[in-house]
């Protein structure tokens, strides 16, 4: 089943064409990666999908439903969660409250000004489950900004998970991490992907090759290759972009 289908996507910033006629499909239950050098338009692609930026043209279908033009919160409520390239959490709140707020978002009564937050038991339960999954259970009472960079990135993944998404968009989930943390994170993403469809963007090609079912390669706003990791790795155009035209 196709969960996300992009067709003919276009976006320009002034005279700079950042995304040019891009097609991409994400199959449910798979890990799809979009790789490309810095400046290829990967983050812009996420910003278009999640409603952070308006499209210039093209279509975005999530669960066969057009979502272009919807607000970011409406898209999130449909079950499409994203992390950011630069860690984006609630820095002054506790780890648990960060994830609890995320879990609360799609619960009935999420905006009740009368019902005590603690009485939304399901939100707390799924928050704790998400924290346990990313291995932050023991740090639940710490204030988020006191966590290490790697832990904050995992916290953000826990938050996106806690919203109960069908599709998880991860924007360079290992950026700024040490080698050890990177390894842990890739293992974690593999585990998450058993239950949730994952779309990753990453500039480090080697990182996602072992993990992904399908890889699309972007350069200068265009998709230059797509296929299995092995197919993509053999592609001469991809080698040229990544290794330079030697």
């Amino acid at each position: 089943m196709t969960l996300l289908r992009l067709s003919g996507l276009r976006k320009a910033f002034g005279s700079l064409q950042v995304i040019e006629d891009l097609d991409l499909t994400v199959e449910a239950g798979r890990i799809t990666s979009v790789i490309g050098p810095n400046g290829a338009g990967k983050t812009t692609l996420f910003n278009l999908i999640t409603g952070r930026l308006p499209l210039d043209g093209g279509r975005i279908l999530f669960k066969e439903r057009p979502i272009a033009g919807l607000s970011p919160d409406a898209i999130a409520r449909l079950g499409l969660a994203r992390s950011f390239q630069i860690t984006n959490v609630f820095p002054a709140l506790t780890v648990l409250e960060n994830v609890r707020l995320a879990a609360q978002a799609r619960q009935p009564g999420a905006l009740s000004p009368w019902r005590p937050a603690e009485r939304l038991v399901e939100a707390t339960t799924s928050a704790q489950a998400a924290l346990a999954q990313v291995g932050l259970g023991a740090l639940r009472d710490r204030v988020a900004h006191t966590l290490s960079h790697g832990d904050q990135r995992h916290l953000e993944i826990a938050m996106t998970l806690a919203t109960g998404p069908e599709l998880l968009l991860l924007d360079e989930p290992t950026s700024g991490m040490s080698a050890v943390e990177t390894g842990r994170t890739m293992t974690l993403i593999g585990e998450i992907a058993r239950r949730v469809t994952v779309l990753i963007i990453e500039h480090d090609m080697d990182l996602v090759m072992g993990l992904s079912h399908r890889v699309a390669v972007m350069a200068f706003g265009k998709k230059i290759a797509e296929g299995s990791p092995a197919e993509v790795a053999r592609d001469p155009e991809v080698r040229r972009v990544y290794l330079g035209d030697l």
Partner: protein, 325 residues
């Protein structure tokens, strides 16, 4: 438990205050306390929006004034029931907050401050020119309200002590409601928006809708505060709408510590009571002393009284541990 004792003491003193009024001290202190209660309700509303939602309004005088005028006009022309006056104040200030919130919440930070200020100035000048609202003279001679409901409870609130308890009960109820809202699912979302609006939005929260709702609740609290003061004084004037009221609210909240509910309430009490004492000693120069207090507070405790209390609490917790071998 640790907070229960000071709270119980404050409540006890407040309950006992009317006993000595007129004999041990002037009746005037009851009037001062009633003014404090009215401002406490206003400050609770302000804190919900500014302290929890992160939106600093510089126009809350407009809701305070609107609640005051709505109550005054109801008491004057419709019924002496204080409940009816409060209900009308709630409805009218809610309607105004709905419109102003809808138009202001598209802006943030200094732009939001200016938008709310502009709307409040507009309201101030409008009230100043409306003949049916008494224009610049305001509305004197509002009949004393009563607790009358459909023929029952014909207790007149014209005695100062009776009104005192009424206003105290109302301020207490407002505090409990505000605390409930702060602890609610919505209250938590509000704090999330204050901490990181973008993250909240990408988790699926309609930030604009949440902030508009907070603005509405905040405006209603402010309106009730105004209604209490107007019913007590039996007089309203455009000064209720004056920008200096909005400024005073902001200073009270800063002094007490925003985002704590108790802090801004304490700030209101402090400014009103100290202002009265200082102005009787120093006449106009009391504002100079008040200014120095504000500066000292911003320099030494930017989190206000609430911050000082937190630090004292932390000291007390730490002290026995240090003495232990």
């Amino acid at each position: 438990m640790r907070r229960a004792l000071p709270a119980a003491l404050v409540l006890l003193v407040l309950l006992a205050l009317p006993i000595g009024a007129g004999s041990l001290y002037s009746d005037f202190y009851l009037s001062l306390a009633i003014r404090v209660f009215a401002f406490v309700i206003l400050l609770l509303g302000f804190d919900l929006l500014a302290g929890y939602g992160g939106l600093i309004s510089f126009g809350h005088a407009m809701f305070f004034g609107t609640g005051a005028y709505a109550a005054a006009l109801t008491l004057k022309h419709l019924t002496p029931s204080v409940w009816a006056a409060l209900a009308v104040a709630v409805v009218v200030s809610a309607a105004l907050a709905l419109v102003v919130g809808f138009l202001s919440i598209r802006a943030r930070e200094i732009y939001f401050v200016f938008l709310t200020f502009a709307f409040a100035q507009f309201a101030y000048h409008a009230v100043n020119s409306w003949e049916w609202a008494g224009a610049a003279n305001g509305l004197p001679g509002i009949p004393p309200p009563s607790l009358w409901i459909a023929g029952r409870l014909p207790v007149d609130l014209d005695r100062r002590a009776v009104f005192y308890y009424f206003a105290l009960a109302l301020a207490g109820a407002a505090f409990l409601v505000a605390r409930r809202i702060v602890g609610s699912a919505f209250g938590r979302v509000l704090v999330g928006i204050r901490e990181n609006e973008e993250r909240a939005r990408f988790l699926g929260y309609d930030v604009t809708r949440c902030l508009r709702r907070a603005f509405l609740i905040s405006g209603v609290f402010a309106g009730v505060g105004g209604a209490v003061l107007a019913s007590f004084h039996g007089f309203v004037a455009p000064t209720f709408y004056h920008w200096s009221v909005s400024g005073e609210v902001l200073l009270m909240a800063l002094l007490g510590g925003m985002g704590t509910l108790v802090g801004p309430m304490a700030g209101a009490a402090f400014v009103i009571v100290l202002g009265d004492i200082l102005s009787s000693w120093l006449a106009e120069r009391w504002l100079l002393v008040m200014g120095l207090i504000y500066v000292a507070c911003v320099l030494f405790s930017p989190t206000g009284f609430a911050g000082i209390a937190r630090r004292l609490g932390a000291l007390r917790d730490a002290a026995p541990a240090e003495r232990a071998p």
